[in-house]
């Protein structure tokens, strides 16, 4: 449900970019999606296909999603570890004193236009 709203936001932002850069159409949109962001790639792709048909600028736009791995930093032992595998507790020193270094991003990286 969330993904469709997000797709509309991306398209709204890119329509502004297109207007500023005299773009006729967009052939490719590259997103960076963190592994533990709240957006699910397969849903995003489906929503994209549906929404793209309704907007001229995106009629031929392919959506590429690059995944950014989630990495957590441990305050106690100052090591980093993969978030998805170990969660909130550090696998090295078992401290809960950890925070997400990267992985919640959701960025528009670049677009290919004509």
């Amino acid at each position: 449900m969330h993904e469709l709203g997000v797709v509309f936001h991306i398209m709204d932002s890119l329509e502004k970019v297109a207007a500023e850069n005299e773009v006729e159409g967009i052939s490719k949109v590259v997103l960076e999606l963190g592994e533990v962001s709240t957006v699910i790639e397969s849903y995003l792709q489906n929503c994209w296909k549906w929404a793209a048909k309704k907007r001229k600028l995106f009629a031929e736009a392919e959506l590429i999603v690059e995944t950014l791995p989630a990495v957590t930093y441990c305050e106690s032992c100052e090591k980093t570890y993969p978030t998805v595998e170990y969660g909130k507790i550090c696998p090295y020193c078992h401290s809960p004193d950890t925070w997400l270094l990267q992985g919640s991003e959701f960025n528009i990286k670049e677009i290919e236009v004509y």
Partner: protein, 224 residues
């Protein structure tokens, strides 16, 4: 053959909304309208809590309410009985409100003279957390039947809220809801969060919540 070029964007998907939200927050500050964004799951008691809140604060503050739902106007009808100014917003199927929609809602409400505007967001613990509405403060309600583990499952929502109301405490004896564990989970995600247990039906805790809110409005007015 079309000439193809690459435009580097390098911005968060939410950047546009964040910018609009900042602008709206500044404008509301100039107008003296404190905007509270109230979020929760469907059925946690947002509307009942609002009714009690308005009852408690209506002599102190001029209140306006925006009811956001995917469809229907049942909530706006209920709130209108409180005497507060209210409008119903329809999100057109969307699961949340963004800053642009909030601005439209405020225009529709006509905030002239309103000191406290309350946005009852769409019932949902995921999407509304991602979109800054331009609010001065964020509040959420977690009700006892939902379970004490929700702060672990929906961390973002709990981390962006200034206050968490734990509603329906009258049914605590019937549920395996550990209040202390729940508070601990909330503070794990958000050490600054104010937590107030309430029962909107019986009115328990409502005064503490209303006092907290009135105090936040007062402090916000005094800020530069």
């Amino acid at each position: 053959m079309k000439e193809v070029r690459i435009l580097e964007i390098k911005q968060s998907v939410f950047a546009d909304n964040d910018k609009q939200a900042e602008e709206l927050r500044r404008e509301l500050k100039d107008k003296g309208v404190f905007l509270l964004n109230l979020m929760s799951s469907p059925g946690s008691g947002k509307t009942t809590t609002l009714m009690k809140t308005i009852e408690t604060l209506k002599d102190k503050l001029k209140i306006g309410v925006m009811e956001a739902d995917i469809d229907s106007d049942v909530d706006a009808r209920t709130i209108s009985q409180s005497g507060a100014k209210v409008i119903q917003l329809h999100t057109g199927g969307m699961c949340h409100l963004d800053a642009g929609m909030t601005r439209q809602g405020l225009d529709g409400l006509e905030t002239e003279g309103i000191e406290l505007a309350i946005l009852e967001n769409v019932g949902n613990l995921v999407c509304p957390a991602e979109f800054d509405t331009g609010s001065s403060k964020n509040a959420m309600i977690l009700s006892v039947p939902e379970g004490d583990d929700k702060p672990l499952k929906y961390p973002l929502m709990f981390s962006i809220c200034d206050v968490v109301l734990i509603n329906k405490i009258d049914v605590l004896p019937y549920f395996n809801f550990d209040m202390e564990k729940c508070k601990e989970y909330i503070h794990m995600r958000n050490p600054q969060a104010k937590i107030i247990p309430i029962c909107a039906k019986t009115g328990e805790g409502i005064q503490e919540w209303a006092d907290w809110l009135a105090e936040e409005v007062r402090k916000w007015r005094e800020e530069e």
